[in-house]
């Protein structure tokens, strides 16, 4: 096996690693923020909001992330020439960079999957706990923040861990819109050196480690959840 390309590309791999981590954590964060209202809308509140939320989840879960990514990046990009004024605006540097599109597309996808999971999670919290909170005079927001959300999260942590791993594994797709993470750098090595297996195995190894760390972190979180067996 040929590994002499590693020193040459080490710096690029570090850059790519940083981009991977950034893309992953930002997508997870924004996606989760969005998932809470999406999940909530399906459980409580006006019916039409719930329907919109469900439709959103169905749309984004039923279509490949790759197509969503391309639709956002190239689809929006095709509108730009129609608005020359955009080039002067201060948003222009963000609009032409590829990274924001990756974050938006991934966040929307994460929100759809986690929103679906959170809907089930919110439903699974025993009603009497919520009623107790209301009886104490908690406002709707306090109820959500102190009781409903934490309890829902506790029930559903393993599933969220799975979704997080899936999100991490989606990061390579961003290389198709010029966002080069670890996988992207690996494919650059492949094109430059025509070596197929070594760069791919290296990338696989890095992701293996990252997944392991992620699973460990979530496992730590799960252990902190009080469970009934701790009586």
């Amino acid at each position: 096996m040929v590994w002499d390309w590693l020193p040459t590309y080490a710096f690029r791999f570090v850059e790519g690693f940083w981009i991977t981590i950034q893309l992953f954590s930002m997508s997870l964060f924004f996606g989760f923020m969005l998932a809470i209202p999406i999940g909530l809308a399906q459980v409580t509140g006006p019916k039409w909001l719930g329907l919109i939320a469900r439709g959103y989840c169905t749309l984004f879960r039923g279509t490949p992330l790759l197509i969503q990514l391309w639709l956002l990046y190239y689809g929006l990009g095709s509108i730009f020439p129609h608005f020359p004024a955009l080039r002067e605006s201060m948003f222009w540097p963000i609009l032409i960079a590829a990274f924001p599109y990756a974050v938006v597309a991934f966040s929307l996808s994460v929100a759809a999957y986690e929103g679906h999971v959170m809907a089930g999670a919110f439903r699974s919290v025993p009603k009497n706990e919520l009623e107790a909170g209301r009886a104490f005079g908690m406002s709707r927001f306090t109820l959500l923040w102190r009781i409903w959300l934490p309890r829902a999260l506790q029930n559903v942590l393993p599933t969220l861990a799975g979704e997080a791993v899936l999100t991490l594994k989606s990061v390579p797709l961003a290389s198709t819109i010029t966002v080069f993470g670890v996988y992207g750098v690996g494919s650059i090595v492949r094109q430059d050196t025509y070596l197929v297996y070594e760069p791919l195995l290296f990338v696989a190894f890095i992701y293996l480690c990252l997944t392991g760390i992620l699973v460990y972190l979530f496992g730590w979180l799960e252990r902190r959840v009080p469970s009934e067996s701790m009586k």
Partner: protein, 255 residues
């Protein structure tokens, strides 16, 4: 362990059932469109100058040929892994590539060009500082840009030719470096109206002497046949006949 063996054997057989013992030559090209050399028509066939030349070469070799699309950044590994038998997708002959594969004699040569917006002044590398340059992955154009313009300019790498043209129109890149002939249809189209050729780029080392068919190092017999076929279609006028349909100048690029 008997069960394991029979499972493996049946899996291999099943894989074989979906295949054929190849009697034909698989020609590999980029899975995206590269007009006017090759592109997918609306009815699903491959059309273009390079397709016709390829078919002519196969006819001269008395072989059946099959066109296979491969993503460009994996086309040389696909050749060495025997997924295709020859690369016929406008691949430039370079010393770097020659380390891994052999090339036939060239069958055309056109220079690379840098195109940009009409209202942007670009005459040298200095004008490109702070600009975004779009190139296709794993291409000689990418190598040239990295070698000459990468200081101070941002290089954006795209999976295929059409994507960087698209981003040029959208404004995400300021200039694009690609083959001058492939860029011509774009510049003539409505989208390309605001752009023009800024620089013609020449570098014999990076761009090589022209485009040839990529062939595995060990397939010396196939290499000889292809070279003979290329010589034949150039001699008997087929090459000129096909080229006249697409271009009104000599695409071969001199001796």
């Amino acid at each position: 362990m008997n069960l394991l063996k029979s499972l493996i054997a049946s899996a291999v057989v099943a894989a074989g059932l979906g295949t054929s013992a190849s009697a034909e030559i698989k020609l590999g090209l980029d899975s995206s469109n590269y007009e006017p050399f090759y592109s997918r028509s609306a009815s699903g066939e491959w059309t273009g100058w390079e397709i016709e030349i390829g078919e002519a070469i196969c006819a001269a070799m008395n072989e059946e040929c099959e066109w296979t699309a491969i993503a460009w950044d994996g086309i040389i590994p696909a050749l060495t892994a025997k997924k295709i038998d020859a690369i016929f997708g406008s691949m430039s002959i370079t010393e770097e590539r020659k380390k891994t594969i052999n090339f036939s004699e060239k069958y055309y040569n056109t220079p690379a060009a840098l195109i940009g917006p009409k209202n942007m002044e670009i005459t040298s590398a200095a004008d490109l500082v702070g600009k975004n340059i779009g190139v296709q992955v794993s291409s000689t154009h990418e190598n040239y840009v990295n070698a000459n313009f990468a200081d101070g300019a941002t290089v954006k790498i795209y999976q295929d030719f059409n994507e960087h043209n698209f981003d040029l129109v959208a404004g995400r890149v300021d200039v694009v470096v690609a083959d001058s002939l492939a860029l011509a249809p774009f510049l003539e189209s409505a989208d390309g109206a605001g752009f023009e050729v800024k620089m013609i780029l020449n570098d014999d080392v990076i761009f090589g002497i022209g485009v040839g068919a990529g062939i595995r190092k060990e397939d010396t017999e196939l290499l000889a046949k292809v070279n003979a076929a290329i010589a034949q279609i150039r001699a008997d006028g087929t090459y000129d006949e096909i080229s006249a349909k697409y271009f009104d100048f000599d695409i071969y690029g001199g001796e």
